[in-house]
Every structure is written in C-alpha cells, then in structure tokens.
Symmetry: C2
Subunit: 154 residues, 2 copies
C-alpha cells in the first residue's frame, strides 16, 4: 500500500479540483474522496480496491460514482487506466514526470514499474515516421518475476 510523498498527493488533488472548476464541474465530497484515494496511492488499484479503501476510511461512495469519477480523473490526464489482462481495469496516478512502463508477472500477477529514457524518446519518433500524431503509449513486458523464478527452482 505504497503512497506518494503526502505533499505530492495533496498537490495532485488540488490540481484535480482546479481541473473540475475549469471544466464547470462541481467539486463534490465524493469526487474528492475518490480522487484522494487514487492520487494518494502508488499501486495499480482496481475499482474493488478503491471501494475497500474508501470504506476503510469511513467514506461512503456508490460504485457508479466511483466509475464516473475515474472517468473524470482519466479525462483530466491525472490518472491512467490499464488492462493487464486481469479481471478488471487498474488505475494509477500520473503525476507530472511520472512516465513509466510496466513489467507484469504472469505467475503471481505482480506489476512492477520501470523507466527507460531512451525508450520514451524512441516511441514518438517511430510514430512520426508513420504519420501518426502520438498522444500516449503503453509498453508492457510479460514474464516471470524474480520471486516466482525462485519459487519454481526452489
């Protein structure tokens, strides 16, 4: 249950509130609570996990509202959604400069992050070569994590 430096999470939450106002959207208690959970975590949360964390802190937010708020967070560019081939979608905060990609263990489902500057530079260039105006990308490497490799050998 990793967390961002609390200052950073606060800043992201502030940006989301600002984004809502700029788009004529009310800042409600529920939106604030959902955003706080997602923006304050460094995990890749499922909607189920988000609900659990909300309940754990005594917040009551309907499932539909969680989905609707996640849409807003994704639209605002502050949250990224992923489909790692598991049952449900995962969400993670995308603070400024938090560009990264993922390593997914096909044994235990663990998701690890990595950054690679050269890779990030290459992809937009490749898109250009094909006349594509790149917006975002996704790099996922599937395999067996260190721990699961040991488990098999052991």
């Amino acid at each position: 249950m990793a967390r961002l430096a609390s200052g950073e999470a606060e800043a992201l939450l502030g940006s989301f509130r600002e984004w809502l106002r700029r788009h004529g959207q009310p800042v409600t208690r529920q939106r604030d609570q959902v955003a706080a959970v997602v923006l304050g975590s460094t995990d890749h949360l499922s909607v189920e996990q988000i609900q659990e964390r909300l309940q754990a802190q005594g917040a009551t937010v309907g499932l539909a509202t969680v989905y609707r708020t996640l849409d807003l967070l994704v639209q605002s560019g502050m949250v990224r959604g992923h489909d790692f081939g598991q049952r449900s979608r995962r969400y993670e905060p995308m603070g400024p400069g938090s560009v990264h990609e993922h390593l997914i263990c096909t044994r235990c489902g663990k998701v690890e992050e990595f950054t690679h500057e050269r890779l990030e530079r290459m992809l937009p260039i490749i898109a250009d070569e094909y006349g594509f105006q790149p917006d975002r990308h996704r790099v996922e490497i599937y395999g067996v994590c260190r721990e699961c490799q040991r488990r098999v050998l052991g």
Copy 2:
C-alpha cells in the same frame, strides 16, 4: 480485408492442425474453419467479425466454439490477442518472424502495425535488468492517424 499470401495461410493452418494432434486434440471441422479465418487474415479481428466471416462462407460455428478455438490458437502461439481499449478483444495471426507492434488511432480506431528492430532488442534487456524473465511484450502507441489529422484540418 487484407489476407496473407495464400500459401502462408495454408502453412499456418497446417501447423495448427499439427499442434492439435501433438496435444492430443481432435482436428474438427469447426476448429479448422475458425483457424482458417483468423490465420488467413491480416486484420485484427473481433469475435464478431470472425463470426461474420464464417457465416459469409456458409460455415456454422457456435459462439462458444469460436471462443474455445481462439484459446487454442493463442495457446499454440499462432494467434495473438489484444485489448486496444475497444469493446472487445482483437485477434491476429502470428506467423514465424511476424514480430510487430501497433499504432492505434483514437479517432477512427484504425490499427496499423510497425516493426522496429532496435526496440525489439531493447525490451528483453530491460526486463533482465529488473530480474524479469521476459516472455512476450506489447508496445502500443495511441494517437491520431494521418487520415484523421487531414480530416480535422480539412
């Protein structure tokens, strides 16, 4: 509705039959028909499209069997499944040496392929650096394709 060189599609179909036999799986009419459609296309087909093409050629295959056969095709390594964030999963044949990645247009949904040797070399190396035993990967660039860029300007 692009197609592989017919000889290549035939060869892939033959390999699938062989794979089935080697795994003690019967080669049925339905499996053959589904495999022929998927292995004979260069598009990224949805299950719906696969059904349509089967019907167009007078083949009757139940929906459940299409899904079950796709599982086998994926297990055999001859077909790759994708989730491009559209309603349903897409499937494409993976003949030997057909390593490639995807450019997805967020306006019109078009999926284009690209290959990049250096990129393919990099990813397993990155995985190694993190102790991951890489198996496969997925690189997707989302953006606006050439045609949709024109459409907006026009």
